[in-house]
Symmetry: C2
């Protein structure tokens, strides 16, 4: 998986073949690879699951921390999520979700069925109890917030330009304020723009290099 | 396609086979069907495209109507969308999006790449001009509103119970108000609950009838 991730980073997911991965594995045969993974997509999903597991540990740490209000925890989560160095790597791999319904499906369902109830919901419940978040429907708010942040604002999914991404953060910020959540600040906006730029730059380079 | 839609309605999408559809077509052979459609999923997508085309005509009519403010048009669209009789049919067919990444992918991209810019964006632009909608980012607001309404609030995608759906409408309503859009009223909430109930009832019946 380390070899696959490195190749995805260098060549881009779309331009890496299973043969490329096998060539970088020394002794392993094609049969051994196919024994574990039915397709390149499954390798990508395994790589993403590994990254997700690390991310979930970070979410759990903030969720379980003491001394922060619900709102402060939510802000901390957004900040930490976009500042992790692995984000640069992910946006460099830049898988093309447009050609990959299964990948989008996994992300969407992981967001709504797992990440939202497991990590965001307990924090929103705490925020409602400590008065820092305003909602009568914590479960649904957790879902909408994470759907917007993980899926809609993800430049890899809807291929947003830097300018379009900026508009998304601003609309997201206005939406959050209606729940008492002023969690997006200037520093976060800068970092989000940076990530979008990394993604767009790498996508163009890879496309040019591969004659696409 | 009419035969397929009727069968999907009666038996449910998951429990209808291509053979069932062929048996209801009189003379047509399996080969002729497969010439047009590679899979059952493609038949469903064709059925959905037909319904979408009718829905788009309704959206275009409201968008181009005169004498309504942007906000009034948006409210009219929500009202009309959920009140169309075909909605009852769709929620009776109740395709299981959980087993169908491609279907979800189509809906998501049609929502963001087509319906939002084509129908919702011009209305929001009008609303900004006539002072009935508050945003500096009409394109992004159009996307977020429709992503929430078409995907997140769709009980077929995330299999929401009636109670969970109600929470979604309320969170959606609060979000909309932050953009000056008080577009969800009691009557609409009732109708949304009714649609969720139709979906849940039919899903259970079909599952029981098919021993699932």
């Amino acid at each position: 998986m380390a070899a696959a991730f490195r190749l995805f980073m260098e060549k881009g997911y779309e331009y890496t073949s299973i043969q490329d991965i096998i060539d970088n594995l020394g002794g392993l045969s094609k049969g051994a690879i196919y024994h574990h993974f039915k397709s390149k997509e499954e390798i990508l999903i395994a790589v993403i699951e590994k990254i997700t597991a690390e991310s979930n540990q970070m979410l759990a740490d903030i969720r379980d921390r003491s001394g922060l209000s619900g709102k402060e925890k939510l802000k901390e989560i957004f900040k930490k999520s976009i500042n992790r160095p692995v984000q640069n790597d992910i946006f460099t791999v830049a898988p093309d979700f447009h050609n990959n319904p299964k990948l989008l499906f996994c992300l969407l369902h992981d967001t709504i069925d797992h990440a939202a109830p497991e990590y965001i919901l307990p924090i929103i419940r705490q925020g409602v109890a400590d008065g820092s978040i305003e909602t009568d429907y914590p479960k649904q708010l957790a879902e909408l917030v994470l759907l917007a942040a993980n899926v809609w604002m993800n430049p890899m999914i809807f291929n947003s330009s830097e300018e379009e991404s900026y508009g998304k953060y601003m609309v997201f910020s206005q939406m959050m304020q209606s729940f008492g959540l002023d969690v997006v600040d200037e520093e976060m906006l800068k970092r989000l723009e940076e990530l979008t730029a990394i993604y767009q730059k790498n996508k163009q380079q890879k496309s040019a290099r591969n004659g696409g």
